[in-house]
Subunit: 369 residues, 4 copies
């Protein structure tokens, strides 16, 4: 730590004398390694250094590894989800102290810019999704969290790390982009297209609002079976290419009040626009790489809305309350556990999710508990 | 009038002994005539017969004449806008009486079905837009209005027919589909693509909410000049194909909070998706005949919403209050006046709107006042 | 049936040749009798005659019997809740036919007036709460339902009469006045003051939105025990007069996001204003006979809202969907069953609710099933 | 400035070598003086020191002087409104720099606590209304602004100080507590009770939404005349104690959609509850010192809402946009101007507002321009 950094650090706990740590480092398409990196240090007054205790892998991490996100460059530590303990804080951090256990939001929020003030942390002018993307991330022993007051949440005394690491990204993503934007209401008929981890997060949080019917659509019967256990009322395997047709038959031509896209390709988007009822909502959650054809010649007079959203993580405090009340059990999403040192194996498992039956994999620093 | 019809009629005023009337009748693509038709009679308990005093022509009528709407068949009387006087009412009509002067909504609403109860009259299971489409319309001496209690509004004692005929369709269309769905708010930057009558109706009603800037985009400088008079703060002629680029420069890259599409073709829709700011709304008003390419690869993380809507006319009572308060002067939209007998000339003028500088043309039964 | 009435009736089913029926008739404070009355007949085109199969008694009926509602006069048939079968319909009724099984809303709605169009059926200019109040009600063999298209709902093929008779009044009342107006949200802390039938209806429907905590406050431990079974998370017996103090201690001074008043006296209202958190909502459900003292000197800067509402029954279609999905079991509220002929005994039981452990009592025409 | 303070200060501009300044200091009920005080210095990383160029006096300042607010103690510098130039910033301040011209919000917001994240800055756990109350205020040469990033706004290049000082308190107060909470909509009938500066701020900002009618109620014909100029459509002098009766007659018994209380005494609150229509809103703006009697026996079934709010100043950025667009001219509220040195005279004038015809008085440091 340099002198300049020292001046920015209000407290000098001594959790680790080492100046290096292990981290998962990206080295271009298809290449990454669990290797030594310098331990991060405070750079700005709003920074905190967090020692990671639990992390996980996101579908986006797989996209990065494939080279789909050119913003991620050689040398970057991956990961944007994690639970940990604060080791250092900058002078501008007021809500967190050394020793605090914290939940790290995948989105960094300064709270001060116009977008943050509107609750759009995803578009924060000093943050947004940068962790494990344009700055080093959480798949490591330690991570620097900029804008810590806006980007961390206090971990509750009675919390379960495996459950609450789902609040870093996947649950607020499903809830904000899918359920809130889709305005799910009691009695609604809801279709969720995609039963992967994010689609299942939509499924779990949609039930906050007591919809009458939830149609789950996917190519994989195993994932559909999980969806059934998680509360889906009707399953539709879309392998035959006629999912929309089946849903319309099942609803006697009515379609659904809310269609939630949780895949990110034109075919799944098309199902949504084919099944949304007049007056309904299409809420997009999936990450798209290509344009879609929007059938305005059919939709212009249908009184529908279509929304897009990058998760803002503004609902994390609320989700935390619901988890603590027992009305949401995010640990249901966990299928595999690895010591952080075995992260390469964890990626193998997660990368073959269908075959392995993997949803979310837990990475535990200090080994498995 | 048959005996059966007589039984359905509570009151027998004698405004006209004649059993025929003049009406504008569609005879297939490109053909129509001002000719004799039987006077309409009560068919259902909810019907009213209205003698038209003022009507107007809508862009949709031109589409019908071109043959774009196959639902409209040979022999149909055109027109879905009008002011008139009630001549007969069925036994089920309770809110209107013979002699009442009324505003006819372009949308017919039973008020009883699930869509009507949700305020989506446009999708009424017994109505919707049927006038001058699947049943005979208002460009005639008389018209039968089904579901009269849901489809008529009392004309105020101090009202101006030319102003209030704009409440039949164009003003609620601009307001509901554009302004309400676009959620225009004080201080917003708004772009309206299309300065035709509907775009101008959007412009007039957007100002109910005190936006800070209104960019008006059109190919026609004459229409843009009208928009300036009506309150647009910045004009963009889109002839060079770079309207979106110009708007982005004018807003220093920020774009607009609300982009309202009031034309109905892919090129104008594209301007909207190019200029909407993160967190903004695209509200579609235009009638589309083709799909559009929606750039989900750019929009998926922009937190935008896109809405479509066929006018519900649920805001007509409110618009009526605003007109009466003097805060909205719909008669601004009137550029030409014709006696109803001269309706063929009126169509000529309206059909050459650009050359004629026409916005809305008034059709007055009984001649011009 | 007179000739005039005959003309208004479209169909002449012959379910009963009798011209009289049994009904519970009010004869001034403290007096009522199960006695003969003329069978009702169609008076207006919008009327339906419904033969009652199941009814129930409301707390308001007890108030009427005590003479608290001077609008109810000698000779009035009581009751505003019921399930039945349509026997006759007027010519203006389009949504219901002879033989249809129906749920009767306690509120009569013309659907055509300005209040109905705004969804405020409770203030319908031609209806509102009139059944068993200013017109004859449902505690009888038959009832005339004016504005039938707005006041009846189709009974589903697989429905349970005992469950669905709760949709006539108590469930929409708890849901609309308490839960919707209180804007209950996932993670919220909610206090419900009063564990009578209406308070319990609030409790059941509040859970549509997954609040984290529901504090139930009442004087009666038996009712609180029921509340516990129905999902309350914390019970507070208010006998000691310190319910607000206890709640504030339990919430570490935070109070609740939503405080719902379901009794209607100043003392229970006071609990609500004492426990509502800054930014919270007080939703009044109870019927008040006296003013309350509102502590504006404490509340003016607390950013709270306080709402009042007479049930509009606009959410009945939605509640029906939720019941059918199995997410709400209204039959939980039923504690006693009587043949309609034994209605006087039913009133005795319901009038001694605390002693009898009574919540809702079922009245079955044709005897118990 | 101590060493500790120095360390917290990132930049050392030298606008003033002096260590003292002039300020208006409160010395208990009825006593205050324009006297020497130490210049403020940075105490926390989030602080900024602002040299005041323009300030004004609020009705609340008069209450403080009378001794109505015991939280304000001897020695306190008064004032919570001001425009100025940043002289120093702490290390945690990122959005403002030395030399920036700023608008000071009357409410201090940390942006990080749960209330700030919900947009309830008024209840900020580290701020709220503290300026000129529990910490020294703006009626001075300089002021320390804690939580500067959440409590200051950039003054626009083309801004007018006299106009924009109205954005410190009075305009967001009228807009947020009155207009937003009252949900003023196009076509609404609005009553504003109280035509003092805050009532007039409500009047100016209510017009953002094009209400059809605005009834202004006050005891003072001079203030009513100002209201007329500012856009009120109907004036009611309430001296005879029958203002509610007059309003009900003028509206033919309908009452108003929104009743806004801008005084803070039971009599004016009573007017609001007497004139609000079924389905309407009462929005309280006034500061109340006593409970009011709320007529729940009349209101329980009227479907009304009543709101309270301390200004959050969350709408200041939006108000700034509207002012810059020319759609709001806050300088209309300015009636008198004083050099800051003459603040005692300014208080005399403002304290005799009725006689002096005073609305807002401008205090200019460095003398009048």
């Amino acid at each position: 730590m340099t002198n300049a950094e020292l001046e920015l650090t209000t407290s000098a706990a001594t959790p680790s004398a080492s100046t290096t740590m292990k981290a998962l480092v990206y080295h271009g398409p298809g290449k990454c390694a669990w290797e030594d990196k310098p331990r991060p240090a405070i750079q700005d007054p709003g920074d905190a250094i967090v020692r990671i205790t639990t992390s996980t892998i996101c579908g986006t991490d797989l996209h990065i590894l494939k080279g789909d996100l050119p913003a991620v460059t050689d040398g970057r530590i991956l990961g944007h989800e994690g639970i940990g303990v604060v080791e250092h804080v900058g002078t501008g951090v007021s809500e967190f102290h050394v020793g605090d256990k914290v939940i790290i939001s995948c989105v960094t929020a300064c709270l001060k810019c116009d977008f943050c003030k509107r609750g759009m942390y995803s578009h924060c002018r000093h943050g947004g999704w940068i962790l494990g993307c344009t700055i080093d991330g959480t798949q490591a022993e330690c991570v620097r969290i900029p804008q810590a007051d806006g980007s961390l949440h206090h971990f509750p005394a009675d919390g379960d790390e495996e459950a609450l690491v789902m609040l870093c990204d996947i649950l607020p993503t499903g809830y904000e982009c899918g359920v809130l934007n889709g305005q799910v209401k009691p009695g609604d008929a809801v279709a969720i297209v995609g039963a992967g981890p994010v689609g299942l997060a939509v499924l779990l949080t949609a039930q906050f609002y007591s919809p009458a019917a939830i149609f789950m659509i996917d190519l994989d019967d195993k994932r559909l079976a999980v969806a059934k256990k998680f509360g889906a009322t009707t399953l539709i395997n879309s392998t035959d290419g006629h999912a929309a047709h089946h849903l319309m038959e099942l609803t006697e031509g009515a379609g659904v009040d809310v269609a939630i896209e949780a895949v990110g390709v034109p075919a799944t988007f098309d199902i949504c626009q084919a099944v949304v009822a007049a007056g309904g909502r299409i809420a997009n959650v999936g990450v798209h790489g290509k344009p879609v054809e929007l059938h305005m010649e059919k939709l212009w007079d249908r009184n529908i809305s279509l929304t897009t959203r990058l998760v803002d993580t503004v609902t994390t405090p609320m989700l935390l309350k619901v988890v603590r009340s027992g009305k949401l059990q995010p640990s249901k999403l966990v299928t595999h556990r690895f010591a952080m040192n075995d992260i390469m194996k964890a990626y193998d498992t997660f990368g073959n999710a269908a075959k392995e039956g993997a949803l979310k994999v837990i990475l535990a620093n200090g080994g498995l508990r």
